[in-house]
Symmetry: C2
């Protein structure tokens, strides 16, 4: 893309990551290091030449780096540099703004369970942003949605989620489409069609957690102390 040519922090940031697809590539690399083919699968509709060009530009600007493993299988892995990792706050904040747009449902859009990692970061504020008394309940949850498996860990320091490839279980297991899981996590839906299993106590803590989601109620209800 052509530079905006403005001496402005936002414009300069957009000169680097403002191109179409670029922020979504960064999103994928924030979820985890990826190979080229992983990215093509995670970004339905991207043209292969565009992905190649974006990755080249991102490497030139120092946002992304890659490691070539000429080992048994050729495996070039792309990952964010330290500077690129600094984009997490920005992109999560954007996702937080866009999260209400998810309430309309998935429609004909593509679904990936891994994108819930981002949705979870957007739905639950950092613990530092909470009132002193408020705390997230301690809970581990396994989420199986649209082919991806996620591990959600909630504790006093906040809520974290990551993709996992292990099939170990957690206190709660949630299975469904990512649309169903999102509706559940965003705090509505007592009658969710997602399939949830776990002990009564764990389910209670899950309910406690989802009630703190940022897009949950318009009224700033207090968290249970």
């Amino acid at each position: 893309m052509k530079s905006y040519g403005e001496f402005c922090a936002l414009a300069r940031a957009l000169d680097v990551i403002g191109d179409r697809w670029t922020m979504l590539i960064v999103r994928e690399l924030l979820i985890g290091p990826s190979r080229y083919s992983d990215l093509t699968r995670a970004l339905p509709g991207i043209a292969t030449n565009l992905l190649a060009q974006r990755l080249r530009t991102l490497e030139e600007t120092g946002v992304v780096a890659s490691s070539e493993e000429p080992a048994p299988v050729s495996a070039r892995v792309y990952f964010l540099t330290e500077w690129g990792l600094g984009l997490q706050r920005s992109l999560v904040e954007l996702a937080r703004w866009g999260a209400p747009l998810m309430a309309a449902g998935a429609g004909d859009d593509h679904n990936r369970g891994r994108w819930l990692v981002f949705a979870i970061m957007a739905l639950y504020p950092e613990a530092a942003a909470l009132p002193t008394q408020a705390r997230f309940p301690t809970l581990t949850a396994r989420i199986d949605a649209d082919g991806d498996s996620l591990l959600l860990v909630s504790g006093s320091t906040g809520v974290r989620a990551s993709v996992t490839n292990s099939d170990e279980s957690a206190e709660v297991t949630i299975a469904g489409t990512s649309e169903q899981v999102f509706a559940l996590l965003s705090g509505g839906c007592a009658d969710t069609p997602a399939r949830i299993t776990g002990s009564a106590d764990a389910l209670r803590r899950l309910s406690e957690l989802t009630s703190t989601a940022l897009t949950a109620g318009h009224d700033p209800a207090d968290l249970p102390a």
Copy 2:
């Protein structure tokens, strides 16, 4: 722009504001309500038809609204809706990531003093993010840069800046190019070419303030007191 067609909060946000120029239009409206011609002047290089189309789209999606004043002079004013105002955190966070790119200087880029409003929001964290002991010094400063006049107000709750058209003075007056003012505000430059006037005590508080800038350099040089 074509929708990404992804059931993802970030992708849906970018469906609304991901187009070229769109975030910069929102930036201008975050700085303050603007007329069409204000926007063309504040966005050097934008094609007039593009601006018109972006504004139309932003109105359709509910980010921007406009009021027609069929008064003496025709004056349609564009401003952000409540939802659009919610973009401030996201864009400031992006600007915060991009701020280090300003250290290289302005080069041939266009300059506008008003963009410093955004730079200031990026450079100084919200007071809530500060350690309990740390506090911004109380200070008012007037900034004259590249044809725009800004009023900076620092207090225990944080640092705020806005464009002003009055010519009243403040405790400190800073004049120079936006490049010079940015260098000063980002905490480096003991020997800034910007012209600073004010009482010795006010200058000391200015120095105290700039030393808290997020990109505050490797060497926290003090300002001349």
